[in-house]
Symmetry: C2
Subunit: 328 residues, 2 copies
């Protein structure tokens, strides 16, 4: 199996790479070649014995997508994209990378001309949805009314993927990731950053800022679950998926207060005391437009699994990022 | 008011033009300039006293959209596009005209750079939806899962329009037209053609073929209503529309049997006897994937009105196309 990962240098891309290398196989087949590409060169993963290609690529540039699929990878994880904040600030860049980049990849597959028909796993986002939402949760058949350019680009890409899937050009599946928590690394400027920050920083002995009320409710999945979703999606057949290939992923729906309760249970009140409440009107307003919960009957029926409690999400972070150690 | 119509040579474009010329105003303002463009040169409308521009244009060609908006029309009816059947047969042409053409127009507006912010009324289609549908009708918040490339291109264009509307680049509104019935002109190869054919041909003394069962249910609006929708949409404010600017239009939901009953009531059994039943498996299968009915609370609340009975649709055709005369 030859696997291509676009956006391989990003957080999810690196974790997916590590997991594929560790497993040595995917969809039950040994991985003999791994092509990793991103706008910056991805790191060389440790311990991969097959053929490895590392490259930098700007997907919407003419000829780039053709080059990436020249050796016909059978499985493509298409993760490349600019993030929400950047797509909102820089309209042209967002459409160029997130929409035109996806279209370039899909069109390269379409025009390959030798019966090439890879499996394409696309990372979409819950930002394809926009408020107001039904109180009971966003059903799988809820309409696409994104309130960001990023969400618009993801929704447009989903539609293109579904059309190319329907036409038999590729085997596609789009997974709408919930907020990934606990994101490793440094705090960033993303409006959603605090959901991770209030867990990650206290566990590392650092102070975290909470800009919204304790009552804010949100749905989370760990980076580990995100990788599981991608790998599980790769194994789904056309028959199992049917024509509706873009799927809401499961997650853990909790309030900020419940997140903090988990932190206290696992790391004690001292950790939680490192959270400083500093209400921010802008962040509060942005977050109010986000989805709180999802009704994920379809992805559950298709076998996608996330953590079942926020405690599990905190523990996954401690295991995967902190080597099991919590700051005293 | 300077009005631009793309796709002005098409059936709806011609009727919209005639209506605007007849009214002499739109959104309460006199029309002093009318720019009509299409891939073939639109006919000169009779009786327009303002400035008239007739042009041929291929929207996705570089510079064409810029040229069309060079004099900053305040109101744009964007009707240009290739039809469903053609977009399915010719994938590249469909995406080029229906998606890239729309994007070229919207990007020309975005990059005008002088505070230009026109009202853009976009004709979308109910083909943004795909079966299976809820039995009670497709609600306004039903997800976008088109089963044709045409529907995909319309859905992608809707999303782009909504994002540009949200960002304040333009004032947009997308109207999802139901099947237009009775379409004037000759029978065509469209799978939906018989819905019009079984009324139009018998009224003209000609035989019509019915390829599906009498029990097939569908939603229709007259060409007159389609024009009304476009003009009503032009007058809606940002405040009235809110962020969800792509709207299901109302129509008359009837079975084929009920269509024929209307024909009998209005033109007698002799007309209905001109319908020959010739079941066609392919057409039957295609039509089975189409939406039967819609829940159109939003467009009703926004003041859109269609005919309330199929009798009215038949009468509109007799008045508008047959000068009030029915074949004996």
């Amino acid at each position: 199996m030859h696997v291509l990962i676009t956006g391989a240098a990003g957080m999810i891309g690196r974790k997916l790479t590590a997991r594929l290398v560790k497993d040595g196989k995917v969809i039950g087949q040994p991985i003999d070649r791994l092509s990793l590409t991103d706008i910056v060169e991805p790191d060389k993963p440790a311990g991969f014995s097959g053929k490895l290609d590392l490259s930098t690529s700007d997907l919407p540039e003419p000829g780039v997508a053709q080059q990436l699929i020249a050796d016909r990878p059978q499985l493509i994880f298409h993760l490349a994209g600019v993030v929400s904040g950047e797509a909102e600030v820089n309209l042209e860049k967002g459409y160029r990378v997130n929409l035109d980049g996806t279209r370039a990849l899909l069109d390269a597959i379409r025009t390959a001309g030798d019966g090439y028909k890879p499996k394409v796993v696309f990372t979409s986002s819950i930002s394809v949805f926009g408020a107001p939402f039904p109180a009971a949760g966003i059903p799988d058949d809820f309409h696409l009314t994104p309130l960001t350019s990023y969400g618009t680009q993801k929704a447009m890409s989903e539609l293109l993927l579904a059309d190319y899937n329907r036409r038999g050009i590729l085997d596609g599946v789009g997974i709408r990731l919930p907020t990934i928590c606990v994101r490793p690394g440094k705090p960033n400027k993303a409006a959603s950053g605090f959901f991770s920050g209030i867990i990650r920083e206290p566990l590392a002995g650092l102070e975290a800022i909470l800009p919204v009320a304790d009552t804010v409710r949100h749905t989370h999945a760990s980076p580990r679950s995100a990788v599981n979703f991608l790998i599980h999606a790769a194994g789904l057949t056309r028959e199992a998926l049917g024509p509706r290939i873009n799927l809401n992923m499961p997650g853990v729906c909790v309030t900020v207060a419940e997140q903090i309760e988990s932190l206290v249970r696992i790391a004690g009140p001292k950790a939680a005391a490192r959270i400083r409440r500093e209400p921010d009107e802008l962040v509060t307003r942005i977050v109010a437009g986000w989805a709180e919960r999802f009704d994920v009957k379809r992805s559950a029926a298709l076998g996608f699994k996330a953590e079942t409690s926020f405690d599990d999400i905190v523990r996954a972070h401690i295991e995967d990022e902190l080597g099991g150690k919590i700051a005293a």
